[in-house]
Symmetry: C2
Subunit: 576 residues, 2 copies
C-alpha cells in the first residue's frame, strides 16, 4: 500500500503510464484527457506528470475499464478455456462470470474443476489475462425429464458452494421447482443465502406473483427478457437485467429500450451462449456495447452496463472503474460508437493489441473430461418408429428456438413410419452411462433429405441428438459420434464426416481458427443436405432436448410438453 | 424460504399486508399503487389480492424503503443509544452506520461495546427497531497533538476489526498520516483490505494527487465536501459522496447541486453530528431528503441516496428497496416533498407512527462508560497566563468551525496577562488520566464576559475545554465538570450550574425531552454572559481542540497550527 501512495504522490516511479488517453469515468459519465498511472497492478491516479518504468502512448484512444461478461457458458464456444481466453481478452474482456452448466452436466464437479484450472493456468508476465468467477451450476440435471452425466443435489450443492472453487450459484433455470417450493431446490437456494453467495436467474416469461416468488427466493439476475416490458417487470422485482448478446439470441436492442437515465444501473451485459465465429469476428461484450449504442443507448450508460454495474451486481471489488485503488484492467477503444479495441491491459500488463492476444497458452490436461461418450451399440432398426393415426410432430421454426406442436396423420410400413413430406426423424440417445435409453419423434420444418446428422451437444444433459430421414445413416452418425468422443457428424450415402469435440463432447482442443473452419465446413456440408434457411443445421439441434422452452422437446426419456411440464406420448389418444 | 414462496404465490396468508400505498420502486424510479405483502419480516410481493394476518391501511401514503444514515456519531446527540433510537426510528431510519469515534476516544473499545450492546437490546415484538452497523474508529487518538482516553494502534485495529462487533473501519480523518504513508495508519488500512471491510473517509479540501493517494489506499467515502466542485472531484476518484445534514454543517443543498441523472447513484445521505433538538424537531435522513428535494433534486434520486445507494455502498444485503426478498423495513410518508413520516415498519412490525416510536426502552448498564472525568486538582492560579509582546490569539468566527490566527500585543500584571477587550482565555485540561496536562491560550471573537463556562466534549479526545475571563470561575467550572462526571457547566459570580453528561462525559442518560430542555436552559444562560450571535456557547467550544481543522486549535499539549501540522508557542519569536 505504501508504494501505491508514494506513486500517487509522484514520490515513486509508476510501473506503467498510459499517456494521451481520453479516460472515461464511469462514476461521472465524463471523459477526461490525461494519463493513467499504474503501480503494482493498481491505478493510482488519472492526471498528468507521472513518470513510468513503461510508457504506453494511447494516441487519443478512449480508455475504459475492462469489460465484464456477467454470464457465459464458455462451453458454447466449443473452444477450450485457453482458446476462449485468447479471443475474449482480445475483445477487451477482463472478467467473465462463467457458469459451467454444460460440462458439469456431463462430467460433474470434475468439469468445473477442469475449467477453473485451465483458466487459472493461463499466465502472462505474472498476470492472469482473464479472471473467471465460476458459478456452481444449480440445475444438474436441468429437468426431471432427462438423464445427465451427473446429479448435484441440494446437499452436494451446500458442500460444493462452500469451496473457493465457486463464486456463486449458477442460473436457476428450474424455476418450476422454485415455484413449487421443491425441497431440493430450496436447499440449494438456502445454501447460497447462508453462504452469502449470489444466485443467478433464468426466468423466461415469468411475471406477477410467479416472479415475486422467484425473486423472494433470493435470485438476483435474469437474462431471458424478450422485450422492454419484460425487462421492466424484472427490474421492478429487484432483478438485475442481463442484456444478452448471444449467438442465437437477437433481442439485445429490443431489451435495451428499457434502459433509461434512472434505471440504467440495473442493466448488465452478458453473452450466455456465444460461438467461436462470433467471438472471433464480431466480439463479445464489445459487440454488445456496439449494438446497444447503435440502437440509441448513450455510450455512458452502455459502458456502465459493461463494467461498474456488473462489478456491483457480483460484488467484484476493484473492478469496473478507472480510478485510484481499482485494478488496472484497462481497454483502449478507438471511439465510443464502434468500440474497436486497440489495446487491453490486465493489472497494468499489456495482454492484447489490435484484436490479437499478446499471450499464448498450451492446454491443461483434459484426461478428466475426455472420452465421455458411452452408448449401447445401435443398429438402423433402433431408429424405426411404428406409428399410425394422429401423431404429435415437433415443428422447428427459423430464427429462434421455440418449437410448435403439429398433428400429422401417420401410417407405418413394416413397423416403421412412412415419413410425410418435409418431415424427418429425431432421436435422442443417452450417452453418459451406455444405458440404452433412446427416444424418437418426428420433426418438421427442418428440411434434411437423404441422410442424417447429429451432435453430442444437447442442452442441458448433452445426450446425442440425431436427425435424419434414413435409419442406416442415423445409426452411422451415432457410431461416428461415439468414436469421436463427441462432436458433430454427418452421414449421407457413402459420405461421412465427424468433427470431434474431445472435451466432454462439447469443446475442441484445437486452435480456434481450426474450430471455426471445421465447424463452417461441416455446417456447409449439412446445409447442402437441404436444411432450411434460417435454421442452423447443428446448432438448432442442440436446443431440441431443452425441456424448459416451449412447446415440445425430445429427451432420452421421451417427448416433453413443456407447457404441461410432462412427458406426452407421440400418438394422440394414448394419454393415461 | 418455503413460506416466502408460498406467501408470494398466495398459497399461504401473509403476516402483514399494507394496503392502499403508493409504493416507490427505487430500481425504476416509479411509483405503483398497490399492496405490500410481508411474510417472516420479508417483502414477498407488491401487488394486489393478498390476505394478511394483519392489515395496515396506508390511505394513499407513499411507501419508501426505510432510510439508512450512512455515517453518524451517535454521541453527538448527547443522547443514550436508547433515546437516540426512539427519535431516529420515528423519523424513518432503519439502519445507521455508526462511528463511535467519540466514546472510543474516551473509553476505548469498551465504549463501542457499550454502544453496540445498548442498541442491540432494544427489542420490540421480536425485532430490533434500529439496526446499527458499528464502525471501528480509525483514529484513536485523532492526532498526535492530544491525549485521548485510549490508543488503538494498527495491531489492535487488526485484531478488533476481525470481531463481529465491527462492520468496517470508521472515517480515516488522519489523512496526513495516509499521505505520509505512516506505518501505523497503513497497518489499519491494510487490515481493512485484508478483511474485506469498508473504510470510511474524511478528506476536507483534499484534491488532485493527494486525493488520488487517499483513494488508492482503499478509502471509499467522504462527507467533507463543501461545494459541487469538491463533490465532483471526490466522485471522479471513486469515493461515494456522503451528503451531510449535520446540526452545524449547512451545505447539503450546495453539495446536492452536483447530483445529476448519471452520477446520482454515488451519493448517499448522512448526519455525521446531529443534536437532540434537531433529531426531535427537524428529523434525520427525512430532513436531508426534504432539504435536497426542496433545493431541486428529483425525489426519485434523493430517495435512492437515502436507501439503495447506501445499501450498495456498504453492502447491506436485503436493505434499501421495496421488492421481493428485501427486508420489510418500510416508511410511509405523506408526500415526496416534505417526507413527513406517518408510519414506520421494521421487518414488518410497526415501530413508529406519526412521529412517535411505538416501543419503549430502559437503559443498558452504563458502568463501563461512566465516571470518566479524572483530573488533577486545579486552582484559579492554574489559569494564569504570563505573556508579553506579540501573541498568537485564536479567533473564532460565527457560523462555522474554522478559526483564524490574530496577533495581539500583550502585557502581564502579577504574572497574568491583562486581557485585551473582547478577548478571553481558553484552557484545555486532560481529563482521562488525571495527568495534570493543561494548556491555555487567548481566544477572540467569542464574547464572554464576567465568568466561565466549559464542557467535557472536545473533539476528538474529549478533554475539558473551559473558556472565561475570570480565573476563579474557570477553576470552578473545572470542578463542576469533574463532579458531574462530565457535561456542560457555567460559573458566573455566585451562580453555578452543570448539566451532567454521565455517559463518558458525552451523553446523558436522561430522556431526550429533558436533554433538550436542560441543554436549552444552560445554553440560554451562557448566552446571557455575552456570547456573540452566530456562536453556539457550548457547541462552538467542542471544536476548539480539533487539531485537523485550520487554523489554530488548543489541545492539552499546546497550541496547534493545523496548516503547519505542529505545536506552536503562544508568543511570536519563541520558535525553535
Amino acid at each position: 500500500m505504501k508504494s501505491l501512495i508514494d506513486a500517487a504522490l509522484k514520490r515513486e516511479k509508476c510501473d506503467l503510464v498510459i499517456r494521451g488517453a481520453k479516460v472515461f469515468n464511469v462514476f461521472t459519465g465524463e471523459t477526461e484527457e490525461g494519463e493513467i498511472a499504474v503501480k503494482d497492478g493498481v491505478i493510482v491516479g488519472i492526471g498528468s506528470g507521472y513518470e513510468g518504468a513503461e510508457v504506453y502512448e494511447a494516441d487519443g484512444a478512449y480508455a475504459l475499464p475492462s469489460f465484464i461478461d456477467a454470464h457465459i457458458h464458455v462451453e458454447s464456444s466449443m473452444l477450450s478455456p485457453e482458446e476462449f481466453a485468447l479471443l475474449s481478452v482480445s475483445r477487451g474482456t477482463g472478467v467473465v462470470v462463467a457458469d459451467p452448466h454444460e460440462i458439469v452436466n456431463v462430467c460433474g464437479i470434475a468439469g468445473a474443476e477442469y475449467m477453473k484450472e485451465a483458466f487459472a493456468r493461463i499466465v502472462h508476465v505474472g498476470v492472469n489475462p482473464l479472471e473467471v468467477c465460476m458459478q456452481l451450476p444449480s440445475c444438474v440435471p436441468a429437468s426431471p425429464f432427462e438423464t445427465s452425466g451427473a446429479v448435484i443435489d441440494g446437499r452436494e450443492t451446500e458442500q460444493e458452494l462452500a469451496r473457493e472453487l465457486f463464486y456463486g450459484l449458477g442460473e436457476f433455470m428450474n424455476y418450476p421447482a422454485v415455484l413449487s417450493a421443491d425441497g431440493d431446490a430450496l436447499q440449494k437456494l438456502a445454501a447460497a443465502k447462508a453462504q452469502n453467495k449470489i444466485v443467478d436467474g433464468h426466468a423466461p416469461a415469468l411475471a406477477g406473483d410467479g416472479l415475486n416468488a422467484y425473486a423472494a427466493a433470493g435470485i438476483k439476475t435474469d437474462h431471458e427478457c424478450v422485450n422492454a416490458d419484460d425487462c421492466n417487470e424484472k427490474l421492478k422485482k429487484g432483478l438485475y437485467v442481463q442484456l444478452r448478446n448471444g449467438s442465437s439470441a437477437h433481442n439485445i436492442e429490443e431489451n435495451a429500450k428499457a434502459m433509461n437515465e434512472y434505471n440504467y444501473r440495473r442493466f448488465i451485459l452478458c453473452s450466455d451462449d456465444r460461438n467461436a465465429y462470433d467471438l472471433k469476428h464480431n466480439g463479445q461484450i464489445d459487440d454488445a456495447l456496439r449494438r446497444i449504442v447503435r440502437s440509441g443507448v448513450p455510450a455512458s450508460r452502455a459502458i456502465a452496463a459493461a463494467t461498474l454495474n456488473t462489478a456491483e451486481c457480483y460484488g467484484l471489488k476493484g473492478k469496473g472503474a478507472l480510478a485510484p485503488s481499482y485494478d488496472a484492467d484497462i481497454v483502449l477503444v478507438e471511439d465510443l460508437i464502434d468500440f474497436r479495441v486497440s489495446a487491453v491491459f490486465k493489472r497494468g500488463i499489456p495482454v492484447a493489441e489490435n484484436g490479437r492476444a499478446l499471450f499464448s497458452c498450451g492446454r491443461y490436461e483434459t484426461n478428466a473430461v475426455k472420452s465421455t461418450v458411452r452408448i449401447e451399440p445401435v443398429s438402423e432398426d433402433d431408429f424405426r418408429i411404428d406409428l399410425s393415426g394422429k401423431t404429435r410432430v415437433m415443428r422447428v421454426k427459423p430464427n429462434g428456438i421455440l418449437t410448435e406442436e403439429e398433428i400429422y396423420d401417420c401410417e407405418s410400413e413394416n413397423g416403421d413410419v412412412k415419413l410425410p413430406a418435409g418431415v424427418c426423424k429425431l432421436a435422442v440417445i443417452e450417452r453418459h452411462f451406455a444405458s440404452g435409453n433412446m427416444e424418437k419423434c418426428l420433426l418438421s420444418g427442418y428440411g434434411l433429405r437423404g441422410g442424417a446428422l447429429g451432435v453430442s451437444i444437447a442442452h442441458d444433459s448433452h445426450n446425442l441428438v440425431i436427425v435424419g430421414d434414413d435409419n442406416r445413416a442415423m445409426a452411422r452418425v451415432a457410431k461416428l459420434l461415439e468414436k469421436a468422443g463427441g462432436g458433430m457428424a454427418i452421414a449421407e450415402g457413402t459420405f461421412e464426416k465427424a468433427f470431434p469435440l474431445d472435451i466432454a463432447g462439447l469443446m475442441s482442443s484445437l486452435p480456434h481458427e481450426e474450430v471455426i473452419k471445421e465447424t463452417e465446413e461441416i455446417t456447409a456440408r449439412a446445409r447442402r443436405m437441404g436444411v432450411k434457411e434460417g435454421i442452423e443445421p447443428f446448432m438448432s439441434l442442440v436446443f431440441l432436448s431443452l425441456a424448459v422452452i416451449p412447446k415440445l422437446r425430445l429427451t432420452d426419456r421421451g417427448l416433453v410438453d413443456v407447457e404441461k411440464f410432462e412427458i406426452v406420448p407421440l400418438q394422440i389418444g394414448e394419454e393415461a
